[in-house]
Symmetry: C2
Subunit: 368 residues, 2 copies
């Protein structure tokens, strides 16, 4: 007999991340420092100097982390004007998304999310044995009316990505509010705001202000993007104290490592770094958009730190991906998001983007 693994695992294709720099270096023999990775929506400006200082002063590697994340939870509560019992820390926001599924959904449940939405929603749905209800996108946007119509008695969870990755689309706050008003209050609504920091002031999320009114919403936030802490793994969830306490029941006791906690605290002490990263990102985004226009490449207007652009066919997209790889530039193919004609490029520094555009222009020229 072989081990009786759960049947729901059969359908799971593990997540494919951006190719690590080391992996491409091994593959094509280019030194690591000559490789440009624009594949994982990281912050190309690194981390704040304050964070770097705090990390370099850390010594107590042999001690377990504070499992309650006391200091970081308090810092988040102070910065975002929340109560500590509305906050839970995650090993990246991925951990928060998974925990949300695991507190409400099992083999009898349905979980709703959009076509072209972040891949982890499907993965955690399958992992808990629930049924995926994937709502077709409207021109790459979430169709919230479609979400609402798909709600059944079995619906336990709705994932909304705002902005969404990999499309970069944004839902208007008023529309989102109206949707949440309509959703039955027994259904947990996860609003994934991993790219919130890149939004301009007039577009910022107001969801934290709705927490009093709606006990069934939970926001996930990430330190992996604009804060520049992807390597360390830390994110957080914000919801009703009831939801947070349920998540704490099954959260791994030491899910967030000590250095991540310290770095996240210090990054909240230097929000100027985050704001400046967002400003530079948005300037560079405009330049990339102009270049895509010049190259007659269709792209989706993005509110994040990445742009998905179309090469017109799956085969051209694949050839373009490989052409750039061989030049030491890593993008992200997104055929697994139902977008095989597209590639997603993370917005790099001015210099990185210049090289990317140069090589992309070369590729387009060659294929004409």
């Amino acid at each position: 007999m072989s081990v009786s693994f759960l049947e729901n695992l059969e359908k799971i294709e593990p997540y494919v991340g951006g190719m690590p720099i080391q992996e491409l270096s091994r593959k094509i023999g280019i030194p690591e420092d000559q490789i440009i990775k624009l594949a994982s929506n990281e912050n190309p400006y690194g981390i704040s100097k304050k964070v770097h200082k705090a990390i370099s002063e850390y010594e107590e590697y042999f001690l377990y982390p504070d499992g309650s994340g006391f200091d970081l939870v308090n810092k988040i509560s102070e910065v975002f004007n929340l109560k500590p019992n509305q906050i839970v820390l995650g090993n990246g926001s991925n951990d928060i998304l998974e925990l949300c599924a695991r507190v409400v959904a099992n083999h009898e449940s349905e979980i709703i999310f959009s076509e072209h939405a972040f891949a982890v929603y499907g993965l955690v749905t399958k992992a808990v044995g629930a049924k995926e209800i994937v709502i077709p996108a409207l021109d790459f946007h979430h169709d919230l009316d479609g979400f609402f119509k798909a709600i059944t008695k079995k619906t336990k969870l709705i994932f909304i990505a705002n902005p969404n990755n990999p499309t970069g689309t944004l839902i208007d706050q008023q529309k989102l509010f109206e949707f949440i008003q309509k959703v039955p209050s027994n259904i947990l609504v996860v609003i994934d705001e991993a790219y919130e920091e890149y939004l301009e002031a007039h577009l910022k999320s107001k969801v934290f202000l709705w927490l009093e009114e709606f006990e069934n919403i939970i926001v996930s936030r990430s330190f992996s993007k604009a804060y520049g802490l992807a390597a360390l793994r830390v994110g957080f969830g914000v919801g009703s104290s009831k939801t947070i306490s349920k998540i704490n029941q099954i959260r791994q006791p030491f899910n967030v490592n000590s250095l991540a906690q310290i770095a996240a605290i210090e990054s909240l002490n230097d929000l100027k770094f985050v704001e400046e990263s967002a400003i530079k990102n948005n300037e560079q985004k405009k330049i990339l958009e102009e270049n895509f226009n010049n190259l007659n490449l269709l792209f989706i207007k993005s509110y994040g730190n990445f742009i998905s652009f179309s090469l017109g066919s799956p085969s051209t997209a694949l050839r373009c991906y490989e052409y750039l790889l061989n030049k030491g530039i890593i993008l992200r193919p997104i055929s697994n998001y139902g977008m095989p004609d597209f590639l997603r490029v993370s917005i790099g520094t001015e210099e990185e983007n210049k090289i990317f555009i140069e090589k992309l222009t070369e590729f387009i020229g060659n294929t004409k």
Copy 2:
């Protein structure tokens, strides 16, 4: 309506770790550097200098970790003579234990483990909605005959801790082998070897040698104990390629942070540090045992880096815990392990142990 949380969560009491130093410092107003924490089985000798150097040279905090853990997996495979596809990395070995439950067990399953065994087994069992089958211990030891008799068609997983925490007891390798031979091969057997590094040569685990013969065993190992990397969160699982691939299907793609991967690799390049930590631990363990004997305190012979000793009654144990807390010494109460008369002390440095024994002797003297 309130959110429909899963019913199986009702029964879960979250894990209670050792009190963090900062927390005691806040509570009783003693500076952090005057507090001795002997509560979480950490390595009081810190980390290897090589590890420290590798950590201090790290810069790429803004990049995602290598989700496949390529370099660390290869290093583990080299050091322990395993194939890379027999290895999976975890965010601490806690992550491995949880993933094992999540690939085989659901609300229809039973999971077997021992009374007084590591608390996480019960937590992950409840979190997947499975039934806990807790086998009464025999004088604090795992009763493997009892385990075998408890197997039913619903049994999907067996947790064995060797050595066990918090009792410190060890199962003889021959007995363990005979048990595994008898267990139906569709049941996953997890052998948790978090304290393996503290065993003397003639007692070391041989389980890696049994992997060819038994596809249904998986070993979990930790870098949080003798390797001194508790703050960073990294452990690993070793099993058949089939089991590892199932775990990879639901493992969070970036579950192990970059610094943990680098530190773990470097710690495997300095096994001398680990061996020396174990030798010092075992010397200090003898001294603590002598002191417990002198104080007429019953203790359980331990094969780990901790000793559980009895104060004779739950109320005395609690008073002793609080007496020591007020002196700045943190032990671990283990009433939640069904051992309310006991306290568990992690074996510290010579200096830490001296202070602990001095204050414990004071307490015993006061209570006479």
